[in-house]
């Protein structure tokens, strides 16, 4: 008796909780389309992710100014997964089941994406993932608007080889899956280009590593072997500031040992005096310094929205810009926000990116992007020193890795498979 009573109480309590989060939604269900924003606003990743939350809010606001979507207003539902990976899964479930959002824009780290994947699969919803990542994945419910390794790492290495005549390579990264995989790919690639094993040094450091003295001096030593040396850095955002500070103070000039980074953007540089770093490089698909009208508009809108004209823009923001517009267009094309319809209609959708070209959603749920190599300037911005002539198609499965060179992804019928094995001629994964 007591039990039953208490139980139902618990039930109410729960209902209360669910309601409280969904309340605005519940009665607004009819006239708004809800969009979930799943970015950490606290904890270690807040540094990078909070900006993306603001960017999404801005995009949604602008879309509403343009009259919303399908005649309805868009409504953002913001939650804080607090850089706690299991919490990401819980919050994703809450957004979809409780708040009934039509699509979710979010995640930064690979682990957070991995943690939510099963949820989106199970509840058949949409996730737009805006960050450059290690590839080796293509999931029906996920759209990867950030760069795959072949849209960032490989071109950067090519540039260093051809433009700077680099013959000796340090692959330095934080010890997690993105650097591990990227470095595996690069190692294979470099060897394919005839770089000897002893000319490649691979080094991993823990998250938030703050004492770089030893490694920087190791790099110096490695660089003094009579061959032009460069550092390819996949060091995770947070650890970069102390790394570059050490680099700058140790007097490693870009002319001597250039460092090309894949996770250092305008946001990270904002924490640094870039004076000593001029000439070090980064490879992205977008720089704030890109001088195109559409980019200027975006930056102005951003400054207007944040009311702070020192706020920088960066590559993942552009990825959200592209992803959001693609989703909007796909929904309009399909005339509904129903995930299955959108998944079908979004492939092939082409929207302008901020670098003056157009990006298209490919059947493997990755997008086409230009690759830009930029050098750090003393004003904390990057200056494009090289860019791909055309667009590069995001490659879900790297051709340089044993396990994945035979795999392709194509979510269009009839194949509709994320890991089709061209060797065996059948869908390697859950499809089989």
């Amino acid at each position: 008796m007591t039990v039953k009573h208490t139980k139902s109480l618990a039930g109410y309590a729960l209902a209360a909780m669910l309601a409280s989060t969904a309340f605005t939604g519940v009665q607004a269900q009819e006239e708004t389309i809800k969009v979930g924003i799943l970015h950490s606003l606290s904890g270690t990743m807040a540094i990078s992710e909070t900006t993306l939350k603001d960017a999404m809010l801005m995009l949604i606001e602008e879309q509403n100014k343009k009259g919303g979507l399908l005649g309805k207003k868009l409504e953002a539902v913001v939650v804080d997964p607090a850089s706690d990976w299991p919490l990401f899964a819980e919050k994703a479930r809450e957004l979809i089941e409780v708040n009934g959002v039509s699509a979710v824009f979010g995640c930064w780290t690979s682990v957070s994406r991995k943690s939510v994947l099963p949820v989106f699969e199970e509840l058949n919803s949409l996730l737009f993932y805006p960050v450059q990542y290690e590839g080796e994945e293509s999931q029906r419910n996920v759209f990867y608007t950030g760069a795959a390794p072949n849209q960032q790492a490989i071109p950067a290495v090519d540039y260093l080889m051809n433009e700077e005549g680099v013959e000796r390579w340090v692959l330095a990264g934080t010890d997690y899956v993105y650097p591990r995989t990227t470095n595996k790919i690069l190692e294979a690639y470099l060897k394919a280009k005839g770089v000897a094993a002893e000319d490649i040094m691979i080094n991993y450091t823990p998250f938030g590593h703050s004492d770089w003295q030893t490694i920087v001096s190791d790099i110096k030593t490695f660089g003094s072997a009579g061959k032009k040396t460069a550092v390819v850095s996949t060091i995770n955002g947070d650890a970069n500031v102390p790394f570059y500070k050490e680099l700058g103070n140790a007097g490693i000039k870009a002319e001597d040992i250039p460092v090309v980074a894949f996770s250092v953007g305008e946001e990270e540089l904002a924490g640094l005096d870039t004076g000593p770093l001029v000439g070090h490089l980064a490879a992205w698909n977008y720089f704030q310094s890109v001088d195109t009208e559409v980019n200027f508009d975006f930056i102005d809108a951003w400054h207007a929205y944040t009311g702070d004209d020192t706020r920088v823009t960066n590559d993942p923001m552009e990825a959200h810009f592209i992803g959001f517009n693609m989703w909007v267009e796909a929904v309009e094309k399909a005339g509904t926000t129903d995930p299955d319809a959108v998944i079908d209609s979004i492939v092939g959708v082409t929207v302008p990116n901020l670098t003056g070209g157009y990006s298209a959603m490919m059947p493997n749920h990755h997008i086409t992007k230009p690759v830009l190599i930029g050098e750090i300037q003393d004003d904390g911005q990057f200056e494009t020193v090289w860019e791909t002539s055309g667009l590069v198609v995001g490659d879900a499965w790297s051709d340089y890795l044993e396990g994945s060179k035979d795999l392709i992804a194509d979510w269009r019928a009839p194949m509709s498979c994320g890991n089709f094995n061209t060797a065996t001629g059948k869908c390697g994964g859950s499809g089989s």
Binding site: L41, S42, G43, T44, A46, I47, S48, T50, T51, E163, E164, G165, D175, N203, Y204, T205, P206, G208, H209, S210, D211, Q213, T214, I215, S217, D218, K220, T221, G223, S224, A225, G226, D238, V241, P242, K245, E246, G248, N249, A250, G251, A254, E255, D256, P258, E267, E268, A270, G271, L272, D273, P276, V278, G279, E375, Q377, D378, G380, E383, V385
Partner: protein, 550 residues
């Protein structure tokens, strides 16, 4: 690539020869010549504006060929990305950002040439390759510069480029060189060039000796370059030299590790020392300690941004202002916490852990709300940026200052605790609150001040740490665990223990790192601490006697 270098160097060589002659002969023609090719040079400079990197490079070489020293400032500016051209007439200027506009100077006469708006001028783009080209070009241009530093730079540039054709100019310059230090650099540069040249073996052997004498990484890199040449005699000599260099290196590596250890230790010391008061002396398990450090760092940021706007020329003094400010801010917050929360928990110290944990969450979020979640830039004042070379040991100034600073703070704190009346009170209160109170010590005040002191010190640490680490809301979290380790390892309530603990862990870590890698090193250190505590359950400096081992 190579061929290009060749072409360039020959050009430079020619220019250098010309230069030497020019300077050697009396300067009667000097001015006249200058006047005459003034226009020519100007057109050459203006031509820099056109085309892509390769075109620019060709222009630079052309200018170098013309070999007029007055081109040097323009090239310098180009390397520093200060060389712009006016869209209107493609005239090139050396610029300085002046508000939203640019102040223009004539590239030759260096006279003021008014200002231009952002849209009127465009920057001449350079990349690393061009910067290198320019450095070498400048090298030969400035071998005879009046400033010895510039001459050394020039020599080193040639050393790096192994510019064969600079041999003659170098020799000429050497002949005229009076400054022994500069001469040494020039000899080394010459040796480097000789090794790249096709001069007979004896010369090269001699050169190897000269280079080997440097005994540093550059020497090594240069020697490895030739150690696999066809000439056996040569690369035996080279290998011998390399071996010699490496022996020296080995010793320096040890020295390096010790230095790194000390500097890491001083960071740990700074992070932990405030905790040694709040936790060590007062027994408060202060989980908000890290946030005090963070507050200090953010105070630095605020002070610096004030300086940037109000008095940029005094920026170097910003830290001196930031120190007391950080001490006050963190200290006051500390006192507030003590008065508001901790004083109610005297009889249940373990619960301070919960309360202060809550406080740390609140502080983090407060800072996040005020300053935003992203990193904030805290600049190094000039005296803290750059590095000095002691032999082969690169000692970066910010690290050096932090070591010094840590020791100063430590000493000050030691004095405060051991030699002042306040310190006496603190020890009295922590040992026997009731008796101290009955002896007329105002224990509440002492508690508040002690906690304030600990927090203030943490704030000061924040100023120092802001120089080497992120200034973000997570700053504190990254230090809290290490701090506790240090204090406990050293022995709670013993300042010397904290000092020794910090440096032991720091050095241990740095000697492990090259062997085991950064991650394993950290793990091993933690395991070491755990085992050590088994041996000495009360840390490095445990108080003995009946009172304690209860």
């Amino acid at each position: 690539m190579l061929t290009r270098t060749r072409r360039r160097s020959s050009a430079l060589g020619a220019l250098a020869v010309f230069l030497v002659l020019a300077v050697a002969t009396v300067t009667f023609a000097g001015t006249a010549a200058a006047q005459s090719d003034d226009a020519a040079l100007r057109t050459q400079l203006n031509a820099l504006a056109a085309g892509d990197f390769d075109d620019t490079q060709r222009q630079i070489n052309a200018i170098a060929e013309a070999g007029d020293p007055r081109a040097a400032p323009a090239l310098e500016a180009l390397a520093d990305g200060d060389l712009y051209f006016r869209r209107a007439d493609n005239a090139v200027f050396i610029t300085r950002k002046d508000g939203s506009d640019y102040a223009l100077r004539d590239p030759l006469t260096l006279e003021d040439a008014g200002t231009a708006g952002r849209r009127e001028v465009k920057k001449i783009r350079v990349n690393n390759r061009l910067r290198r080209v320019i450095r070498t070009a400048l090298g030969t241009l400035t071998l005879r510069a009046p400033d010895p530093a510039a001459r050394i730079e020039a020599a080193d540039a040639i050393f790096k480029a192994q510019d064969v054709d600079s041999i003659e100019p170098l020799e000429a310059a050497l002949a005229a060189e009076t400054n022994t230090d500069v001469a040494r650099h020039m000899r080394e540069a010459r040796a480097a060039a000789v090794l790249a040249s096709d001069l007979p073996t004896p010369d090269k052997l001699e050169a190897i000796a000269t280079v080997a004498a440097r005994g540093d990484r550059d020497a090594r890199s240069l020697l490895t370059g030739i150690s696999n040449g066809p000439d056996t005699a040569l690369h035996e000599a080279a290998n011998a030299a390399i071996a010699k260099v490496e022996r020296v290196q080995g010793l320096w590596d040890t020295a390096r590790n010790i230095w790194f250890g000390l500097s890491l230790g001083s960071v740990l010391l700074l992070a932990a020392i405030g905790l040694a008061i709040t936790f060590g002396v007062m027994g408060v398990i202060n989980m908000a300690h890290g946030e005090m450090v963070m507050l200090g760092a953010y105070t630095t940021f605020v002070v610096q941004s004030l300086f940037r706007t109000a008095a940029p020329e005094y920026f170097d003094y910003s830290l001196i202002v930031a120190l007391p400010a950080a001490f006050l801010v963190a200290g006051l917050v500390g006192i507030a916490i003590e008065r508001g929360i901790i004083r109610f928990l005297h009889d249940r110290p373990l619960e301070t852990l919960l309360a202060t944990w809550g406080v740390s969450l609140i502080l983090q979020q407060t800072v996040r709300t005020i300053f935003g979640p992203t990193n904030r830039e805290v600049g190094n004042p000039s005296f803290m940026s750059g590095a000095m070379e002691i032999g082969q040991l690169t000692i970066t100034y910010n690290r050096l200052w932090i070591v010094v600073f840590a020791l100063v703070v430590f000493t000050a704190l030691l004095v405060a605790m051991k030699a002042t009346r306040f310190g006496l009170y603190v020890r009295a209160v922590t040992q026997n609150r009731r008796m101290s109170a009955s002896m007329g010590i105002r224990t509440p005040l002492v508690d508040a001040l002690t906690f304030g002191l600990g927090s203030g010190i943490a704030g000061i640490a924040g100023v120092a740490l802001s120089q080497i680490d992120n200034v973000s809301p997570n700053l504190g979290q990254s230090y809290i665990i290490d701090s506790f380790m240090v204090v406990v390892f050293g022995g709670v309530g013993n300042l010397w223990g904290t000092l020794l603990g910090a440096f032991t862990l720091g050095i241990a870590n740095k000697f492990l790192e090259p062997v085991a890698g950064a991650v394993l090193a950290k793990i091993l250190v933690l395991v070491f601490i755990i085992l050590f505590i088994q041996k000495r359950p009360r840390g490095l400096f445990a108080l003995k006697g009946r009172a304690v081992d209860a």
